[in-house]
């Protein structure tokens, strides 16, 4: 399988990364090089093999449904590029 400029634009859109025409031109051969290389996995016989879901056998734990942390609004907002009135601020989304 390989990608063309339209596919690369679509992937960039899905990944929320702005790309220029130049970026797309560069990415098409780069991604195709990698895709061509990983294509070899199509030859591996995986009949009847379950995909791996856990690296090391381990049980997912339940925790008690209690508040363990919180009340740190200012600490949380301290790294925000734009914060206003105790909220994260973003470009207007509703007219």
């Amino acid at each position: 399988m390989s990608v063309d400029t339209a596919t690369v634009r679509h992937i960039a859109k899905l990944a929320r990364i702005a790309v220029t025409d130049q970026d797309v031109e560069a990415l098409v051969p780069e991604l195709n090089g990698i895709l061509g290389w990983i294509e070899q996995l199509q030859q591996v016989d995986v009949e009847g093999i379950e995909p791996m879901t856990a690296v090391i056998p381990n049980e997912l734990r339940m925790r008690h449904d209690v508040v363990t942390d919180g009340g740190q609004r200012d600490a949380i907002l301290s790294n925000a590029p734009v914060a206003d009135h105790g909220f994260f601020a973003v470009p207007k989304v509703i007219e």
Binding site: L31, G33, L41, M52, A75
Partner: protein
């Protein structure tokens, strides 16, 4: 008398306890070494005041008889670990200026054990790279140079390149690293130091900037196997804040160190002998085999038939996980916000275009593609099946042996810029490191010798799940026999 900066972690700890020097003397000596070594670009942020504060506390603790496991020992912290109040960027422009309001579990454990922080170490951006050339803060320069009289700037390896360069240059006695597909072991091999990636789940991932969550593991990098054991003991342990943390006691690895390998079978995986690898790599491997035999181990040839599929499998799974993990960098809650006058979506796109480096974008795009509708089964799901086969190879091989010995990397350190135009050539650096990562196994690199140009070569030991002790012991047996005392001559 030996310079303080030449001491190992064990020697600093024990010398401090014995009253040979104060913790402040130690911290000051390393602070000056860091200051003098700016040419290496190993640090993104130096924190001499933090190192001194911890040292003064250690000196007070010593007078009060309250010594802790790492009292008096300053270390470097890879910039992937969130450190409260100290800039943490994962070497990416998208996190420039980010000062976490919390401490990662691993660094918290180290500081609670008395360690001081010399600073935050440079690395490949988001740990994506094998040469430390993807950092937004510039390349790390290896302290090593070829003995041909040239001054070609070499890579320290990656992604923990700052950690490796700093330890081998003796500007820190030890550092934290993280390993997703070789990022502790390959730089350790390139710089002639030791480094261990423990079993997946030993070290909490909480507060470590996430790259590929099913692979990421923290581990120590230091000059000796004993130092790695000392640090790993402090870094490991159950953490309820990481859902994949193993709820198991931490063995006393330092006390358990023994280079007597009688009764141990060491497997030599034949698939790791690959074409195009320099003869010197095979030579140091053969020496490693002889050393382990000398230590009492029985050597057996074994087979891991799916080895050659590990690298392409990794380059589907790791980017897929990265594309999900890095979705959080949206210019809203922390880090950079890109310039845009448009909609919210345009703001996201501008932020990510401006903030991420090229390799990070490439991997996010690859990951997005292999997870996208119509391709998920052909790529991601198939890769997870091949991953299961790779893990099964290891499970089966443990019927025949207790440990595996292989080279760490397929070459010695290369020149900066030599491979940066060819992603696949760069990815091949991790051909020997990635299989153990995919299977979550403990694996360690220890210096084996030098190549003809005077550059270090590493040997890798891979163990069964949870058998860090076996891995450390075999590494110790190699360390005691290799006679590796080479160090880079200071030019910086």
């Amino acid at each position: 008398m030996t310079a303080i900066t030449d001491l190992t972690v064990a020697e600093i700890r024990d010398g401090f306890r014995a009253g040979d020097f104060s913790a402040r003397e130690v911290a000051s000596a390393f602070n000056s070494a860091v200051e003098k070594a700016k040419a290496l670009n190993a640090f993104i942020v130096a924190t001499p005041e933090r190192a001194l504060a911890a040292a003064d506390q250690a000196d007070r603790d010593r007078s009060d008889d309250h010594l802790r496991p790492l009292s008096g020992v300053p270390i470097g912290i890879k910039d992937l670990f969130a450190t409260k109040g100290v800039q943490t960027t994962a070497a990416s422009g998208i996190l420039k200026g980010f000062k976490p309001a919390y401490e990662s579990t691993v660094s918290d454990r180290l500081f609670a054990a008395g360690a001081g922080m010399l600073g935050k170490l440079n690395m490949d951006q988001f740990a994506m790279g094998s040469s430390n050339e993807t950092s937004a803060f510039g390349n790390v320069i290896s302290p090593w140079r070829r003995n041909d009289g040239g001054n070609v700037a070499l890579t320290p390896g990656g992604s923990s390149g700052g950690s490796a360069a700093a330890v081998s240059a003796r500007i820190v006695p030890a550092a934290t690293g993280t390993d997703t597909g070789g990022s502790i072991r390959q730089p350790a091999a390139f710089t002639g130091i030791a480094g261990i990636k423990p079993t997946y789940g030993r070290c909490s991932r909480w507060g470590i900037v996430a790259f590929a969550s099913s692979l990421d593991q923290a581990g120590p990098m230091a000059r000796t196997v004993t130092d790695c054991a000392i640090l790993l003991e402090v870094m490991s342990g159950f953490d309820p804040k990481d859902s994949t943390s193993l709820e198991l006691p931490v063995p006393r690895w330092e006390a358990g160190l023994s280079s007597d390998l009688k009764g141990k079978r060491v497997g030599i995986p034949k698939e790791y002998r690959i074409d195009g690898v320099p003869a010197e790599i095979d030579k140091v491997w053969d020496e490693g085999i002889a050393w382990l035999r000398d230590a009492g181990a029985e050597i057996v040839e074994v087979s891991l038939p799916h080895t050659r599929h590990a690298l392409p499998t990794y380059y589907i799974i790791a980017p897929a996980e990265a594309s999900s993990n890095l979705a959080r960098y949206d210019g809203v809650r922390y880090g950079l916000r890109g310039k845009s006058d448009g909609s919210l979506t345009e703001m996201y796109e501008a932020t990510r275009a401006e903030g991420f480096g090229d390799e990070v974008k490439r991997r996010i795009m690859m990951g997005t593609y292999v997870l996208s509708a119509g391709f998920y089964d052909a790529y991601f799901n198939r890769a997870q099946k091949v991953r299961a086969l790779i893990a099964r190879d290891f499970r089966q091989v443990w019927d025949e042996c207790d440990l595996l010995l292989a080279p760490t990397a397929p070459s010695a350190a290369f020149g900066l810029g030599e491979k940066s135009d060819d992603p696949i050539a760069m990815y091949l650096n991790d051909v020997f490191a990635v299989p153990a990562s995919l299977a979550g196994l403990p694996a360690m690199s220890v210096p084996g010798g030098l190549d003809a140009t005077g550059l270090p070569l590493g040997l890798q030991i891979i163990g069964k799940p949870l058998d860090e002790q076996g891995v450390l012991n075999a590494a110790l047996a190699i360390e005691q026999r290799s006679g590796f005392h080479a160090r880079p001559e200071a030019w910086w």
